[in-house]
């Protein structure tokens, strides 16, 4: 009996080694399905708070650049607001335009929540972004996330005050995209390596695509509305079977310098109906 114990004690380190490695692999393969795994990510409150403290310090160094970008974006948004208000008042021809408040300047049917990027990586195969808004602010998994220049990714998991975003720069990301002003669509995936480019697969061979064309979201997924800018076509490659063409896309979002993100939350049916009513008051009255 004692020899058995001695044997076990002598080889205990093998057992410890195997058990620990098994735990690691279980973590590696189960984090997808196991909701509790949010605590093992940067979206748990301790790590997120530490990282957000650091990003607060870091953000001071990027203030000048950030401001320039925000001012530029503000200008463009203002322009768009004026344009839309004008269109709207021409359409409605009454004082309704004033009632159209900034609340739904966002694309019809989506609420927009601004968030700060707390943590970000671009050098791994599966990158993640952590933002400082969570379930308390109404976020939930599978909401689209955009940056100042275009699509960023999709909310993956949420804790109370932080969320983990699956960016386009993640091997698991798969976004339905199309060429602007056409209906040909394909799937955008990132294959690792350079964080500035992704690959658009399964575009039909006969689709009319040129280098320099703009790639936008197709609206086939519920995460994003139609027409959010994703990038620009950089190269064309026919696939091996000749049925499809593969596009190398220069992403419009600069993930290395991402500081702010906007989460798109689809309105529920009741909200959408109320919005439609305010948009078409005449129709509603006629009823």
């Amino acid at each position: 009996m004692s020899t058995i114990f001695q044997f076990f004690y002598k080889h205990l380190h093998w057992l410890v080694f195997i058990v620990l490695e098994i735990i690691c692999f279980v973590l590696l393969f189960s984090y997808n399905s196991y909701q509790g795994s949010i605590y093992l990510s940067t979206a748990n409150s301790v790590t997120a708070r530490l990282l957000s403290g650091k990003s607060r310090v870091n953000s001071y160094f990027a203030l000048a650049d950030d401001n320039a970008v925000l001012v530029e974006q503000n200008a463009r948004l203002k322009e768009r607001v004026f344009e839309l208000e004008q269109m709207l008042s021409a359409q409605l021809q009454d004082s309704m335009a004033n009632a159209i408040s900034s609340e739904w300047i966002s694309r019809a049917g989506y609420h927009v929540t601004g968030a700060k990027v707390v943590d970000n990586s671009i050098n791994k195969t599966n990158n993640f972004i952590t933002i400082d808004k969570g379930t308390a602010e109404g976020l939930a998994p599978d909401m689209g996330v955009i940056g100042t220049d275009g699509a960023v990714g999709v909310v993956y998991k949420c804790s109370e005050h932080y969320s983990l975003v699956l960016p386009l720069l993640n091997g698991k990301s798969n976004l339905s995209c199309k060429v602007l002003n056409s209906d040909y669509f394909g799937f955008l995936r990132w294959e690792g390596g350079d964080a500035r480019y992704a690959i658009l697969h399964d575009m039909p061979r006969y689709a009319v695509v040129n280098v320099g064309d703009t790639i936008v979201t197709s609206g086939h997924s519920s995460f994003f509305p139609d027409g959010i800018v994703v990038g620009r076509v950089e190269e064309l490659h026919p696939s091996a079977d000749g049925l499809y063409v593969t596009l190398r896309v220069a992403l419009s979002t600069d993930f290395a310098r991402l500081h702010h993100a906007f989460v798109l939350r689809k309105m529920d049916a009741a909200e959408l109906a109320a919005l439609k009513e305010t948009l078409n008051p005449k129709k509603a009255k006629r009823k």
Partner: protein, 166 residues
């Protein structure tokens, strides 16, 4: 007791430096240093193997939590801790009966360099292969292993050098 406190300080310090600064370094798009394994290198030789593996697991997991890699760093560290006694044996061929902490001072610069090189390569190979988990970009993964190992090795040597000067 004092030794335990110093170790805890090293643990916390190295993990913080790793997750707050080093993780965000990516030279030429390939090289990221993983200095935190330094603690696993310098712990005294006669530490119980199981304790060392548990320590490595805890350390790897703390880094994992901060980079959303879910067990990749922990797996690589446990592997390194498991192989460490063997590494010390082949890199420090003289028979020491007394316990010692591997370092430039105790091993001499070349032996320590060899030891750190092997340890870094083992850790980084496990780390990057687990992280990419495919052979599709094997060339790129090798590039990352080699250049990251170089960067880590330079930092390990520098830190050990500075530590011994004091």
């Amino acid at each position: 007791m004092e030794k335990l406190l110093t170790r805890i300080a090293w643990f916390v310090g190295l993990v913080l430096v790793q997750v707050l600064f080093l993780n965000h370094i990516c030279w030429f798009g390939v090289a990221t240093p993983f200095l935190y394994i330094y603690l696993l290198l310098i712990i005294d030789r006669d530490i119980d193997r199981n304790v060392l593996m548990l320590l490595a697991f805890a350390m790897g997991l703390s880094v994992d939590v901060f980079c959303n890699t879910f067990g990749v760093n922990a797996a690589a560290c446990v592997l390194l801790a498991f192989l460490r006694p063997w590494l010390i044996r082949i890199c420090a061929p003289r028979d020491e009966f007394e316990n010692f902490e591997p370092g430039i001072q105790t091993l001499g610069i070349w032996s320590f360099f060899r030891y750190a090189l092997l340890a870094t390569l083992i850790h980084h190979t496990a780390l990057f292969f687990l992280e990419s988990f495919s052979v599709r970009h094997i060339g790129f993964v090798f590039l990352r292993i080699v250049f990251s190992a170089l960067l880590t090795l330079m930092m390990v040597m520098a830190v050990d050098f500075v530590r011994n000067r004091r």
